[in-house]
């Protein structure tokens, strides 16, 4: 894995080939840090005009100031990603358990590939499917929810006639982040010490009791970080939301009505092609905010993962 320890004691002869090779490897490594710094720097640089220009002169803001424009988008981003996470995590844990502990050994790997197939589907195809197939399919269900659970604030209605609500977008997001959460949970569950599992079974535990006592406590950190990585993916997902959601702006917790908050990424994708002048800078500034949010989420996830170093290869 590492060079022999003797190189530290007796310095090896430095040939030109060695120097060129290790030098270029070093440059490539540093280049990654430079790219990440450049992403942050350029976005900040291009965001400056959005803050310094008078809000009255920026057509996309429609008379509001920048914060009033960004806040509903930030809310929509967090809200849709949270719903997606709530929908996806239990299912993902179930699938991971199914593949690691329930499915017959011979089938397990094949079933894992099937879930990986979901990860291979491009996001634009998910958007197409969500807008054309899923939204019309769930619309009657929303009407039913409004009629029977209208007293509950989340389902207050009036139900959207097209089904293109934030709940539909979140379902599509949940399907998209399912593979990544499943993959990490599966790796973690498979790493449970077999002796722990066998000890639990030997004491007379049923399979579920064994999982609750041996597998889940061992994998808790892995589940948390998997959920965080899934959250990061859901926050930044663009096309599925842009193609499924019919956004009207504003802040609302209502899941099934036709007035929905947009998300930062979807708003950029929808507005960018027609944007001009300072409007572009406003959109870049929202992109910077999205970058900051995902960076924060991913960093926390990585710190949790790195605390249990064994799981770091699981992605």
């Amino acid at each position: 894995m590492t060079a022999p320890a003797t190189t530290a004691l007796i310095p090896a002869k430095q040939r030109p080939g060695d120097r060129i090779f290790s030098g270029s490897a070093l440059v490539a490594g540093s280049l990654i840090l430079a790219v990440l710094a450049a992403v942050a720097a350029f976005l900040v640089l291009q965001s400056v005009p959005a803050v310094t220009t008078d809000p009255e002169d920026i057509s996309i803001l429609r008379g509001e100031n920048l914060l009033e424009y960004v806040w509903p988008l930030v809310f929509g981003t967090l809200w849709s990603a949270t719903i997606a996470l709530i929908l996806a995590v239990p299912v993902a844990i179930g699938i991971a358990l199914f593949i690691s502990h329930y499915a017959p050994r011979r089938l397990a790997q094949g079933l894992g590939y099937v879930i990986d197939l979901l990860a291979a589907v491009p996001s634009v195809v998910f958007g197409l499917w969500g807008g054309n197939v899923l939204a019309p399919a769930v619309q009657p269900f929303y009407t039913w929810l409004e009629q029977n659970f209208g007293w509950f604030p989340l389902f207050a209605g009036p139900a959207s006639g097209t089904g293109r609500t934030i709940l539909t977008a979140s379902v599509v997001l949940a399907v998209m982040i399912l593979p990544i959460i499943t993959a990490i949970c599966r790796e973690v569950f498979l790493q449970t010490p077999v002796l722990h599992e066998e000890a639990a079974l030997a004491l007379g535990a049923t399979r579920w009791e064994m999982i609750r006592m041996a597998v889940l406590p061992f994998g808790r950190a892995g589940i948390v970080s998997a959920a965080m990585l899934g959250l990061g993916r859901a926050l930044g997902e663009t096309m599925a939301v842009a193609m499924v959601l019919s956004a009207s702006g504003g802040v609302t917790f209502n899941l099934i009505s036709s007035s929905n908050p947009s998300t930062i990424a979807a708003n950029i994708a929808l507005s960018f092609p027609e944007a001009y002048g300072v409007n572009v800078n406003v959109l870049i500034a929202t992109g910077l905010i999205l970058f900051a949010i995902t960076l924060l989420v991913n960093t926390i996830a990585r710190i949790v993962v790195n605390r249990r170093k064994d799981f770091s290869g699981a992605n």
Partner: protein, 367 residues
């Protein structure tokens, strides 16, 4: 052994049991019988619904889903009566876990079947030989988009494969201390960059050089490269770490310089794994839409030049035909579905090829 029938109707075991180890356990065929019974009931129920409302048609996903739910309820109570609450809970969780898998399969099956059904409508020669230039209604094709996708993804691969490979070599063979730690950490962070932010970055990069409003194929390629580099680094790093240390030590003992050890021993040993990782990373960026929409724009014309003018790509083609449907909406939708089908086929082909390479050419490690 007492006879059990599908619904929760159970007879108490009568008389002496022949096998004391089997007492208090459901016979093996009971869960399957209940599962079959609940399927039959649900198919009957949904068939009634379908006959009552001929326009609705038969709801297959609902049938599968509710059958499994019904099975879970029935098996829980049957098991609770015969096997006791602990085993009943175990059976319930087994059902729930299986249900989770079925839930994940429903969107996958629905998505693939709709894409294949709708996509075959325009899967003809015109689609692969024509561009959209001067096409208003029906007809037209995606040749310009396929060309653009191949050019931009190719350019992104040319940029990111050397950088990614060299970085992973640095991390595995040379990297020590703070810098290596920082690179590892930030590569992980970079995997989480939202794709649209990568697109904005590439756009701002070229705006600073050429002025506002610029859309170039090469900008799209750079955006894709930003997304691709961390994936290449992660997968190659893992592959290089799999190379046994004894091989390196043997080469060092023969007096081979370090750079030749890496070039002639480490890389050839892991070449299958590296190829697989790189192909998987290509298959991941080839379906990216948002960064190309922002950085490369869209056009109806053929463009072979990465350095000049807007460039269409297959994902953006699907998106723009879906969003801006012209007067003949169905023609645009058909093209979008066929584009989606083509995209999925390309990604699947890359994935399968990568797995095949990994299986066929990887050195047999004793693990």
């Amino acid at each position: 052994m007492s006879q059990l029938t599908a619904p929760p109707k159970t007879d108490a075991p009568a008389g002496a049991m022949p096998n004391s180890y089997a007492t208090g356990r459901l016979p093996r065929f009971v869960p399957w019988t209940i599962l079959g019974g609940s399927f039959i009931i649900m198919i009957a129920v949904f068939a009634l619904f379908a006959s009552a409302d001929p326009e609705g048609g038969f709801n297959a996903p609902g049938t599968v889903f509710l059958s499994v739910v019904l099975y879970g309820i029935v098996i829980y109570f049957v098991a609770r009566m015969i096997e006791g609450p602990r085993r009943a809970k175990d059976r319930l969780v087994t059902t729930l876990v299986t249900l989770a898998f079925v839930i994940a399969l429903l969107p996958l099956v629905s998505l693939l079947s709709t894409v294949v059904l709708n996509g075959t409508a325009r899967l003809d020669v015109t689609f692969f030989t024509n561009s959209m230039r001067n096409v208003v209604g029906e007809g037209g094709g995606a040749l310009h988009a396929i060309t653009g996708t191949l050019l931009m993804t190719g350019a992104a691969a040319i940029i990111s494969i050397p950088i990614g490979l060299l970085t992973s070599i640095y991390l595995v063979e040379y990297g020590r201390g703070r810098l290596a730690q920082a690179i590892t950490f930030f590569v992980d962070v970079m995997t989480g960059i939202p794709s649209i932010v990568a697109g904005l970055f590439a756009y701002t990069l070229f705006v600073i050089i050429f002025g506002p409003g610029i859309r170039l194929g090469i900008a799209g390629a750079i955006a894709l490269a930003v997304l691709m580099i961390p994936v290449v680094v992660r997968s190659s790093e893992e592959m290089l770490r799999l190379v046994p240390n004894e091989l390196r030590e043997a080469a060092f003992a023969l007096g081979v310089p370090k750079w030749l050890v890496v070039l002639k021993v480490v890389l050839p040993t892991s070449i299958a794994g590296l190829t697989t990782g790189i192909m998987l990373s290509i298959s991941r960026v080839i379906g990216e839409t948002a960064p190309l929409l922002v950085a490369a724009g869209y056009t109806n014309n053929m463009n072979y030049d990465l350095l000049e003018g807007r460039m269409q790509s297959l994902p953006v083609f699907v998106y723009s035909s879906y969003v801006s449907q012209g007067t003949e909406a169905q023609a645009y939708l058909d093209r979008a579905w066929t584009g989606a089908l083509t995209l999925i086929l390309i990604v699947m082909a890359l994935n399968l090829l990568a797995r095949f390479i990994a299986r066929a050419f990887s050195p047999k490690l004793s693990r």
